[in-house]
Point group: C2
Chain length 431, copies 2
Amino acid sequence: MDFSPASDFASRLDARDPLAGYRSRFAIPDPDLVYLDGNSLGRLTLAAAERLRQAVEDQWGRELIRGYNQDWWQAPGRIGEKIAPLIGAAPGQVIASDTVSINLFKLAAAALELRPGRTKIITDTLNFPSDLYILQGLVRLLSRSQGEGRGGQHAILRIGSRDGDVTPDLDALAAALDAQTALVTLSHVTFKSGYLYDMAAITELAHRSGALVIWDLSHAVGAVTIELDTCNADFAVGCTYKYLNGGPGAPAFLYVREALQEQVVSPIWGWWGQQKPFAFGLDYVPAPGVTRFLSGSQPIMSLLAMETALAPLLEAGMPALRTKSLMLSEYLISLADTLLAPLGFSLGSPRDPARRGSHVSLRHPEGYRINRALIEELNLIPDFREPDNLRLGLTPLYTSFSEVWEGIDRIRRAVEEKRYEKYSPDKLTVT
Amino acid sequence: MDFSPASDFASRLDARDPLAGYRSRFAIPDPDLVYLDGNSLGRLTLAAAERLRQAVEDQWGRELIRGYNQDWWQAPGRIGEKIAPLIGAAPGQVIASDTVSINLFKLAAAALELRPGRTKIITDTLNFPSDLYILQGLVRLLSRSQGEGRGGQHAILRIGSRDGDVTPDLDALAAALDAQTALVTLSHVTFKSGYLYDMAAITELAHRSGALVIWDLSHAVGAVTIELDTCNADFAVGCTYKYLNGGPGAPAFLYVREALQEQVVSPIWGWWGQQKPFAFGLDYVPAPGVTRFLSGSQPIMSLLAMETALAPLLEAGMPALRTKSLMLSEYLISLADTLLAPLGFSLGSPRDPARRGSHVSLRHPEGYRINRALIEELNLIPDFREPDNLRLGLTPLYTSFSEVWEGIDRIRRAVEEKRYEKYSPDKLTVT
């Protein structure tokens, strides 16, 4: 155990945890640190550190440009195939590239083209704001050349929440879907409350209206079971630096359902998505399949580290990861109910495990200052999200039950000992 | 000297080279390798390798998400300011982000919006094809919502060459500029022949017609003198993995002239380009200045390695780098005239040093197979570009005159000894 004295109960849960051994695959230079922010940046695997060292010294340093003939050029497609089993995708539908924002831009533009004449885009207020910004920018761009009064301009409808941004208003979502709806795009797990959408039900509902669906899997992949193919999802994007442990800003991924691939056109062309990139022809011809959504040269060092980090997830398998994730969050919520609710905390995440991702938000009026105190004084890293969410990420590969116990105990101390009071309420940090 | 027996003349040039000492800042695991492909992928600096090790182990591994509060979040802007002096830009106009293709897409969309009603985009057949693809995709996207017969659709005009893709047809370029021209976009140094555009003259010519200019500096930055501000350039993009030695696929950069910054809108919004990213507001408000051209999370590991690699360039300074670059290419051309012209090679680059970048193309009907033989048998890495260009990149920080001499001698041997004949003319490699 890294943490002592842990509760006997937590110790027993750790002793029976079939994934407990995976913690040794990660760099843990400070065993006292309670790290509950793997949902922002996953820990470093020892294998990724070694892979990066090797890629730098042996490939970039020694092989130089020949690295592209080794395993660089094919990296986006090869890594896409490794991510595929984590998101329920058969081969040939996933590539790793660019950022979530860029990939969402590409897929949203492609999706809207598949639904000409339909002008409504549905999303929700629980979605990650950057996703909303991407949609807003795209709508503005598409409307530019239309001019006044020409009609056909897209509009974005944001479904709200009836319970303070914890769960979406599903009735409003269902009511909004109509024959004008081109696209529905949502975060599979919402970034603030960790609400987990029923992908199969929502996708079917959207399809019934003839709309396409893009799922943002950033807060879901590696932590919850995702079945894109089974759900008939059309498109998906996701990041790799959270539960996939790919490293800060590691390249994102995108998924295009096979049946749609030959119908769709990326708005951002480029030689990595060209049919014959080294013929250097002057006119773009899209590569077959999902590869057409590549554009420019990808950051190889960041890609290779991310690829290596996928191995333990693939070994553990999503069913075991999801099972442990739920045990961790159930345990955390039970501790919070007992120890933190009396101190003014309320649950900012769904209580129903079937509707919950792998992070839990605890709300407190002093959330921001408590977060500061935890980081500065109690060696606990959560993160804070406006207006009052202390967000606690649970990563089944390396978060232990003892760590959860210790984390809740430190939060209790931060409040009971009024440690937060010395911190300014002015927002400073970027985490 | 790494190479022996080098010619006495080359040795004397090396002995008097004020930049000779910079070679020791790079990893040179194989001193016999003649590496003339720094214009595709620059060599690894020892400092970048160490920075990456430190960023992986000490930051990602130990500090985890706190790395963003150290030096990650500010990296795109901070690194932009370091690139600025290499491209003649005053502070506040450059950011590092995404890829050249993505950045060109953003800037081209922004530029076209500044010239409503103008429908012509001028580029040339010497431009890097991916840049052409970006323009083609953007024009298609912008025309989508216009529908048939609505007019106003953009058209791309590609200026040709009168000498087999070595130099552009400047008369045709001048004649094409008119009151319908919204945008001119060119590679400052062309990827195949290494032709160096007169940035000041072309920019002024374009401005006289009321057009905006985007320069792609990918094959120029770090190798030729660039004066964006002095030339009144409007926009620029460039990559960092060639002469800037940033590493494979390291993030690109973009420049927006200060006077334009508050007028332009990126088509790809995102939280890194939002005014208050951590307020998580639901509506996009652009950040001030050039920062608004950021969108999603950037690959931090690749960014930091690239940042570190800039140091020796900044120390050496562009005037010294350009002087050595020209000495290297003059020397190479004189050797090629003497030793390789009799074997069927012709110069595929401008003979005028004022119009030449830092790579030299030598054309030969068996160019592809000679390239293969050089790589496989003679420990020389050039690269090949269709249809017959053996492309030789000269990197002033680490290419020595002896290396140039040795390189030309090995090319001579590859042809004289008919080593290329055993290789298939079928294109295999990606380099």
